[in-house]
């Protein structure tokens, strides 16, 4: 009974701030609504429009690319960084803090920092050119259609990977040291130890990070919006920024609600796969 009493306030808050708007979003997704005034019921028209919307497919493709980047780069870096950190005892806390700091700095600050560093005229490219290394001189990382998306992903990765290091480090520290000793006795090298001891030992954390990465990649918004706003010409547009533009720039709030629900559906599907795998006995 006491437990229920403790939980009740949170349930009430969640009902107010999550369930209420969620139900409203479902309703508005079936309407044509500018965000002000009355909404007109249009049935499934918004969903049909999404299926025919070229901008949506481009943005969704960018989310997929983003997911691929974040499933590979920060996870590889995180594993490697955690492994290196696990090998040292002195200054480990210093490095842990240093890796983690970008994660707790506001995205606006991180973005501004990298916008200055990567500025084609005043950033690292021109500074390197001044000392005879000109290959980055004048490169406009955020203004080029080809580079905008990977450049923003790079900035976001810079803030994110330190967090992944800490998750993996904690998992690594929980792997039984005797398993490594046994593997060594069986003649396993470093790589085989990593494959056969480390990876199985941290599998729950790895799957958790993968799940978190996929969901975060589908919902990505802040760095893209702050740095490029989806530009140039949609080259870094993701569904999150497209949705925002539909709601607050094109004043198609009903359409944006449908888009948001579509995205939630995909995220939900991924979580369901995760739950399904757990029930099938996967240690995730």
């Amino acid at each position: 009974m006491l437990a229920w009493v403790f939980m009740l306030p949170l349930v009430v808050v969640n009902l107010l701030v999550i369930l209420g708007p969620s139900v409203a979003t479902i309703y508005y997704s079936f309407t044509e609504w500018s965000g002000i005034g009355p909404a007109e019921f249009v049935g499934l028209q918004n969903y049909r429009d999404i299926l025919a919307d070229g901008d949506f497919y481009v943005a969704m493709w960018h989310n997929v690319l983003w997911t691929i980047i974040f499933l590979t780069v920060p996870i590889s870096m995180g594993l490697f960084g955690a492994f290196l950190l696990s090998q040292i005892t002195r200054f480990q806390m210093f490095f842990r803090v240093a890796y983690f700091i970008p994660y707790v700095v506001a995205s606006v600050v991180n973005a501004a920092l990298w916008q200055n560093i990567l500025d084609p005229d005043r950033g690292i490219g021109s500074a390197m050119a001044a000392v005879g290394i000109p290959f980055l001189d004048g490169v406009s990382f955020f203004g080029s259609e080809r580079l905008a998306l990977p450049s923003v992903a790079f900035v976001n990765n810079w803030a994110w990977w330190g967090f992944v290091v800490l998750l993996f480090l904690t998992a690594l520290q929980s792997v039984d040291a005797q398993l490594y000793e046994a593997a060594k006795i069986d003649g396993a090298g470093r790589w085989q130890q990593f494959l056969n001891v480390t990876l199985p030992g941290i599998r729950p954390t790895l799957v958790f990070v993968v799940l978190l990465t996929i969901i975060n990649s589908l919902l990505v918004f802040d760095y893209v919006y702050i740095i490029t706003r989806g530009g140039p010409a949609g080259a870094s547009e993701v569904v999150g920024t497209l949705m925002y533009k539909e709601a607050f720039e094109r004043f198609e709030a009903g359409y944006a609600a449908a888009m948001g629900l579509g995205l939630s559906f995909v995220s939900g599907l991924i979580v369901l796969v995760f739950i399904f795998l757990r029930r099938r006995g996967w240690e995730v």
Partner: protein
């Protein structure tokens, strides 16, 4: 709303300090009526920077309250780029300030359609706005013969230039397309960017350029015909203007390169103009508020600035043509608790010529009200370049030499189309003809829905 820039306290004090004393005296004199209802009046302002905000509190808010005993003006400063989103959300939730600011007449119309604004005709009669304000401007706030919105923050597009660099290179501001292109080639040859430009901070700012090229290449008559439905935006005259802008960007004349045009921040491009890395800048009159920060002692250079009208880009276009822009509109929230007090404050803010002139001198461009200013109307503390711009705009528009800004005369959906699709022309994803044809489709739909604001005929202002 994005068409205003930040303004540091230090620079503000330098620029407008001399105007403060006079403004204080006038403010205390408080010739603002005292006819408003009592109680609280809430107002969301888009003023940025501690200097202008302090000025507002000291020289506008307090004198207004003094002149309207019993009225408590509660001002909240909102980021200009977020204002419309915040207003939209608040009004939809049945809240919002008593005095509502929108980004322009086309945006105001949406709120009027949703029955969220109060009619102002009674107040217009009470305060004599028809006699005080410019008729064409007031007409922009009328919908189906009723007044709902007061246009505010008059703007136009200007050509700013680094006068020190021009003297060094023996140049004059261009007065024709040939001169402009000749200068641009010469400057590029000297590794100087002809036009400091970029949309890195605000991609929607790309709309400044179609606005300028349509007005100064296609011309205001063609625009009037397109905006009133007599012709279409697919007409070659509009396509050619977009192609010309695209050519200039691909040449690197705007911002240095196409990529830099996409990524340059305002601070960087303005610094380039001040330092002489770029020679000119096409921007709205709002830049007068902060341009001083990038020149002379304030920016550690010995340069100075000046402005000129944008040149005609085709034969038959008037040599001195100013696009008319409305940076915002002011309306009374239909749910306002103190509608009389709200109307009284709008009158105080917009309709007192002498008072407004003082504010305009102290904080350039932030308080530009639609009033018939003439030479001699402004205090001596006003920068003569700012005064010249205001008088020139007034005279030219009086002669009918005015054009149309996208954010004032295009319906909001068409305006958003321009902001988003213009980038695709520059990246080569679509052609200028496809861009104009797409605009035509959106605009035709807007027209059908009655979303086009009143279009003033050239020569009728």
């Amino acid at each position: 709303m994005r068409r205003t820039r930040g303004f540091s306290r230090k620079k503000f004090l330098k620029l407008g300090g001399a105007g403060l004393a006079g403004a204080t005296l006038l403010g205390v004199a408080g010739c603002g009526g005292g006819e408003g209802g009592s109680g609280q009046v809430t107002y969301w302002s888009d003023l940025e920077g501690s200097g202008p905000q302090d000025y507002f509190k000291q020289h506008i808010e307090k004198p207004f309250e003094k002149a309207n005993q019993g009225t408590d003006l509660k001002v909240t400063f909102q980021p200009p780029t977020e204002m419309d989103r915040l207003v939209r959300t608040a009004l939809q939730g049945g809240e919002g300030p008593d005095i509502v600011m929108t980004p322009g007449p086309a945006y105001a119309q949406e709120y009027i359609d949703a029955n969220l604004f109060a009619e102002l005709d009674e107040y217009a009669g009470q305060y004599g706005w028809d006699n005080k304000m410019l008729g064409w401007a007031l007409d922009l706030g009328r919908y189906e013969n009723s007044l709902y919105a007061i246009p505010y923050q008059l703007q136009t597009m200007l050509l700013y230039y680094n006068v020190s660099l021009f003297e060094e290179m023996d140049m004059e501001p261009p007065t024709s397309r040939d001169e402009l292109e000749g200068m641009a080639e010469e400057l590029m040859g000297q590794n100087i960017v002809p036009f400091a430009a970029g949309i890195g901070d605000d991609p929607a700012a790309i709309e400044w350029f179609p606005t300028v090229f349509w007005n100064h290449y296609s011309g205001p008559d063609a625009l009037y015909q397109a905006l009133t439905g007599e012709t279409t935006f697919s007409d070659p005259i509009f396509v050619e203007a977009i192609e010309l802008f695209n050519t200039y960007v691909q040449n690197g004349w705007f911002g240095g390169s196409r990529e830099q045009f996409f990524s340059n921040s305002f601070a960087a491009l303005h610094a380039d103009l001040g330092d002489g890395k770029a020679s000119m800048n096409v921007e709205g009159s709002w830049f007068l508020a902060t341009i001083g920060e990038y020149f002379g002692q304030a920016a550690n250079n010995d340069n100075d600035w000046e402005w000129a009208p944008l040149p005609p880009l085709r034969d038959g276009i008037p040599p001195e043509l100013y696009e008319l822009g409305i940076g915002s509109t002011l309306s009374v929230n239909r749910r306002a608790q103190n509608a009389d007090g709200a109307a009284a404050f709008i009158d105080y803010l917009v309709a007192g010529k002498e008072r407004v002139a003082e504010w305009m001198a102290a904080v350039p461009s932030a308080f530009n009200a639609p009033l018939p200013f003439e030479e001699g109307d402004f205090p001596s503390s006003m920068d003569d370049r700012v005064e010249r711009q205001l008088v020139s705009l007034s005279q030219a528009t009086g002669q009918g030499n005015f054009g149309y800004t996208a954010w004032t005369f295009w319906p909001s959906k068409s305006d958003v189309y321009i902001q988003e699709e213009m980038q695709k022309v520059l990246t080569g994803d679509i052609t200028a003809a496809e861009f104009c044809s797409g605009l035509d489709e959106v605009f035709t739909q807007d027209r059908k829905e009655g979303a086009v604001p009143k279009i003033i005929e050239p020569g009728s202002a």
